[in-house]
């Protein structure tokens, strides 16, 4: 009884009906997977019964598309729908346990999270300023010889960067 895998494409409008059909057939839910492509995302819904693994692909999903949640039929799908929402920015409607973008508590902009862009940009600016401050060495804390050498090196580096920019 070796594993047999089947693939099929599915329209966005068929997602919920298909889930109900799978449930009625005694299939168990395996996972939902998001795949990026040039036009947006594809979603792969997997179901399994005995040794047959069914993969149903929904193509052309964008961040503006609202996908009906199948967690009403397969409760366990809520984990995957929240995950895809948080990591790929795809909206699901009617998730049984909806975390509204806080399922993954990460700190960078999507595809890792749904932190508002304004907050993310501000954090980025802050991080850059801190980096600049760290980069500039404190010459007053050095002895005179070393401070002169470091100042000369910094001036040379600055001149080199200015020259490169002018070119």
């Amino acid at each position: 009884m070796a594993l047999e895998t089947q693939y099929k494409t599915l329209a966005k409008t068929q997602i919920l009906n298909n889930a109900e059909k799978m449930k009625n057939q005694g299939q168990r839910f395996v996972q939902i997977l998001a795949l990026r492509d040039k036009k947006g995302c594809n979603l792969v819904y997997s179901f399994m019964k005995d040794n047959v693994l069914l993969n149903h692909t929904v193509t052309g999903v964008t961040e503006k598309t609202v996908i009906p949640s199948i967690s009403g039929v397969f409760l366990e799908a809520f984990v995957f729908e929240n995950e895809i929402h948080d990591l790929f920015g795809i909206g699901f409607e009617g998730i049984a346990i909806d975390f509204k973008g806080t399922f993954y508590r990460t700190s960078v902009d999507k595809p890792m999270t749904v932190i508002p862009k304004k907050e993310y940009d501000e954090a980025k600016v802050r991080a850059n300023i801190e980096k600049q401050i760290k980069k500039t060495p404190d010459l007053s804390a050095m002895d005179a010889d070393k401070a002169a050498k470091v100042a000369a090196a910094l001036a040379a580096k600055k001149a080199k960067e200015a020259k490169k920019e002018a070119e």
Binding site: M1, L3, Q31, R36, M48, I97, F99, Y104, T106
Partner: protein, 362 residues
């Protein structure tokens, strides 16, 4: 009239080895609802396929989990071998099977120790972990590692095990079996164990089936989703494989299933060692996964079925790699088992599904 109270449980809690948070809505001492929350340690490992080539990613895959490390490297390698139509030598298949079942033995004994610790049986916990050390010693002798082995690669395995080492493994397992049967007797017959587990966290066969739960958690409710029945890899060479099932569906049944699975795994290892063929341990793998080629795979990890999906793009980097771990599948089942339980039993119920949040947050 009972008043609803929300009790936050985790992500830091003495009984939780990993960070999961539960909002427990309780009426007096009864839990009426549990809302789970994960995402505290998300690592973005799947995204690393964009920067690590398909050979390097084996070492990332085995770092998904410290307990089922070998299982993940094997599951990933098998998926890539399917993707690239690579057939590995029979000896490599057997060696993978032996290491994978040894991982199950150590994982289950580790878990039995944790559950003993959770219900306050400290000496039982220590005996379990003492036994587990002997399995880790086998790993160290045969692979050089105790947790991360790095012996699996796309195309086979990197280390062979000689006949003398096989004899040592058999002798060690015989010794473990003798000590383990004493520990198992305590788990299955002790009244203090039974008082904390019998009838607690019951999940019916129908609910387990409806919620698509996997692993020993499902088998304890008489639902067989054991991927070993598919006969992939070394399991196809076994004379017979019957999953361990129980109809009780409570915490005690989950302990019983894992207890019996340890002995089953030892029998599988003995059979695989006895019939392990001679020959090469790997084949060279050339080229890259084809553009748009897709492969899927399922592997029975100690905690349950793990699903793998790989898509190639014609380069040495994969387009997408997906590992759906057993715990993410079992979270809904855990929520169902927690419903209407007593507050004092929450830790036992959460632990008996053996949640691995670092697997889930790959």
């Amino acid at each position: 009239m009972a008043i609803n109270t929300i009790i936050p449980f985790g992500p830091q809690h003495p009984v939780l080895p990993e960070p999961i948070h539960l909002d427990l809505i309780v009426e007096d001492e009864k839990v009426v609802e549990a809302i789970p929350q994960i995402g505290f340690v998300h690592r973005g490992l799947e995204k690393l396929v964009e920067t690590k080539d398909y050979n390097q990613f084996v070492y990332i895959a085995e770092r998904i989990c410290g307990i089922c490390a070998f299982g993940h490297s094997m599951g990933y390698s098998e998926t890539i071998e399917r993707l690239m139509n690579v057939e590995i030598p029979p000896r490599a298949v057997y060696l993978r099977g032996i290491w994978h079942e040894l991982s199950r033995v150590h994982s289950h004994i580790l878990w039995l120790g944790l559950v003993a610790d959770a219900f306050g049986f400290e000496s039982l916990f220590m005996h379990c972990w003492r036994l587990r050390e002997r399995v880790l010693d086998i790993f160290e002798r045969t692979t050089g590692g105790r947790v991360i082995f790095s012996v699996c690669k796309v195309g086979g395995v990197t280390r062979d095990v000689d006949a003398g080492e096989f004899v040592h493994i058999i002798q060690t397992l015989e010794g473990i079996k003798k000590d383990y049967s004493e520990i198992m007797k305590t788990f299955l017959n002790d009244t203090s164990v039974k008082s904390r587990t019998v009838g607690i966290g019951y999940l019916s066969q129908q609910s387990a089936s409806d919620l698509s739960i996997v692993g020993p958690f499902a088998r304890a409710s008489n639902v067989n989703n054991d991927a070993r029945c598919l006969g992939n890899g070394a399991y196809g060479h076994l004379s017979e494989f019957k999953p361990v099932l129980s109809t009780d569906g409570d915490c005690y049944a989950r302990i019983k299933v894992r207890c019996e699975e340890v002995l089953q795994s030892i029998s599988i290892i003995e059979e695989l060692i006895a019939s392990c063929p001679a020959g090469d341990i790997s084949v060279p793998v050339k080229g890259n996964p084809g553009d748009g080629e897709v492969a899927t795979n399922v592997v029975e990890q100690p905690r349950g079925e793990c699903f793998y999906y790989a898509k190639g793009n014609g380069t040495k980097y994969l387009e997408r790699m997906r590992m759906r771990t057993p715990t993410s599948q079992n979270i809904a089942g855990m929520v169902a088992a927690l419903k209407d339980c007593q507050l004092a039993d929450v830790n036992m119920i959460v632990l008996t599904i053996d949640p691995c949040i670092s697997c889930t947050e790959r």
